[in-house]
């Protein structure tokens, strides 16, 4: 047999190597983050707080009513009040305020900030100057588009943008509260109370369930790849590998869906699903629902100037 020198002996190479993380490392990190985040979110829903003690249906309807009402409000002071109200509810639901604010405001600049950015400049909407940015002089234009003499941030623009951002922040806070204080599966089931057909509710909860199974599959593939990676390959080869894995995951998920359907049929499912309702409305749920709906009505009345503040 031909002998191969595999160089057994102490390795003179350095085990410490600092550099950019490969896409494999980043993907594994992403998967671990997703799992941890799901775990942390679930842990909030198990705390003994105000919202956790309410029936998911009462909570869902109350929060939806408050969101609809908030979206009609155009008064900044009222919006700030509503936002502070949700912060108080978060506090009473044993959610760390710092974590809660960070979670809400992380998305606001990305989604709504860019959306309202043009609103603050007099280029798009005229208004009273607040801060002058550039003085262009008379007759300035950008191609065929005429520009004003000076570009400045307007008072009206800042006001409108602030109201918009505050409104989004308040509504997002309400939704984040709902998600943090309700186990995902209870949340899906409570959708039945707002008329979502049970087949959709079942599909949603099954999709959520199998995200974890497929995430585990993807994670194993990446860890196996990492274990066998000795040196980095070219971008094209890596992209080809990722493409192949995406296809493989799709095939596995299709195969799994077929087997899940068989497992359902095996236990009597024939297209019409029956699920058990375990929810029980108590007095506190009715009280909480009544308060939320009353508050929503007041907010709408204020927004319509029927009640003046």
């Amino acid at each position: 047999m031909k002998e191969v020198d595999i160089g057994i002996g102490p390795c003179k190479c350095s085990a410490v190597h600092r550099g950019k993380k490969s896409f494999i490392g980043k993907t594994i990190d992403g998967i671990i983050f997703f799992m941890q985040d799901a775990f942390v979110t679930e842990s909030f829903s198990r705390r003994r707080g105000l919202l956790q003690s309410l029936d998911p249906r009462a909570k869902l309807i109350s929060i939806l009513a408050l969101i609809v009402a908030t979206s009609t409000v155009g008064n900044l002071r009222i919006l700030v009040f509503a936002y502070l109200f949700f912060l108080l509810v978060a506090f009473l639901s044993k959610i760390e305020i710092g974590f809660f604010i960070k979670r809400v405001w992380l998305f606001i600049p990305i989604f709504s900030g860019f959306l309202v950015l043009p609103l603050v400049f007099n280029v798009f909407f005229p208004g009273d100057p607040l801060i002058q940015l550039i003085h262009l002089g008379p007759g300035a234009h950008l191609g065929p588009i005429p520009l004003p003499e000076s570009i400045y941030i307007t008072k009206q623009g800042v006001n409108a943008a602030t109201i918009f951002m505050m409104r989004v922040a308040t509504c997002v806070s309400a939704i984040v509260l709902l998600f943090l204080t309700t186990p995902q599966q209870m949340l899906f089931k409570s959708l039945r109370s707002v008329g979502i057909p049970k087949l959709y509710v079942l599909t949603l909860s099954m999709a959520y369930r199998y995200i974890f199974v497929l995430t585990e599959l993807v994670s194993e593939m990446y860890v196996a790849k990492k274990a066998r990676t000795i040196k980095a390959r070219g971008m094209f080869d890596e992209q080809k590998w990722v493409g192949g894995r995406i296809g493989y995951t799709l095939i596995r998920s299709l195969d799994m869906s077929e087997k899940v359907h068989m497992a359902m049929m095996s236990r009597g499912y024939n297209g019409e699903v029956r699920i058990i309702q375990e929810f029980k409305m108590r007095n506190r749920d009715y009280v909480a629902g009544a308060i939320a709906i009353s508050m929503s009505v007041v907010l709408v009345l204020i927004s319509q100037n029927i009640i003046r503040v």
């Binding site: 995902q184 599966q185 209870m186 899906f188 089931k189 909860s205 099954m206 959520y208 369930r209 199998y210 974890f212 199974v213 799994m256 087997k259 899940v260 068989m262 497992a263 359902m264 049929m265 095996s266 236990r267 009597g268 499912y269 024939n270 297209g271 019409e272 699903v273 029956r274 699920i275 058990i276 309702q277």
Partner: protein, 276 residues
Amino acid sequence: MEAIFDLRNVSYSYVGKIDALKDITLEIDRGELVSIIGSNGSGKSTLLAILNGLIYTTSGEFYAFGNQITEDAFDAIKDNEFRTFFRTKVGFVFQNSDVQLFSPTVFEEIAFGPLQLNVTPEEVKTRVEDVLDMMDITKLRDRSPHTLSGGEKKKVCIATVLVNNPDVLLLDEPSAGLDPRTQLWLVELLQELGQGGKTVITATHDLEIIDQISKRAIVMGEDHAIKEDGDADKVLNDYELLLGANLIHEHTHVHGKVVHEHLHEHVEGHIHKHET
């Protein structure tokens, strides 16, 4: 004895091209403990799927409880009295527990079956609590399936089937991936179910458990046909048969009921005795 399942010249092929079963003829009587053994890809799982009315024969006839199972009669969306009866009487434990655990919590998972079979919610709740208690998994009641260990998942899968108190249990590779302690628990459970008069049909290639959980063994060959159908002890002692079905390696030794394998030099040949 009354035959529960009767297969007459049954064949099955995937997409009409890939043969999975060839000319299977067998009867399984009430209360029988049967192992279907064969190497990977021999058709064991397909046979179980046919026995559970999940797929339908490409040719041949399959009768369950005296009724012929055909796609037209069995797979209609409208309510079907026999199908409800069949689903109540026959339970199937899948090889991959994850495909069987699709509900949000263990409680709902176990409740799913009886709910689909028109059992009242009150009765379902009682039954689920009973089966949780019986399987000693009450502590898992509100857990989500993805947080369970392999052994716990298998226990929940079996509970989802036992909650209907079926007469027939079909199990696909039930011992695969279980630790020795859970394997022993499983064997004891299947023995108890057998003693309780249930028909237990297990597809496996775990030779160690066959004589403990069955009296009859059906050996599937790599040609997807039945190679042998007989007494489990006899089958396990038939070295040539097991070798021919690719269930054992040349280095596997059979000492009575004990099957084991080890590396050795070929001084004495493959078939030899040990000094015990």
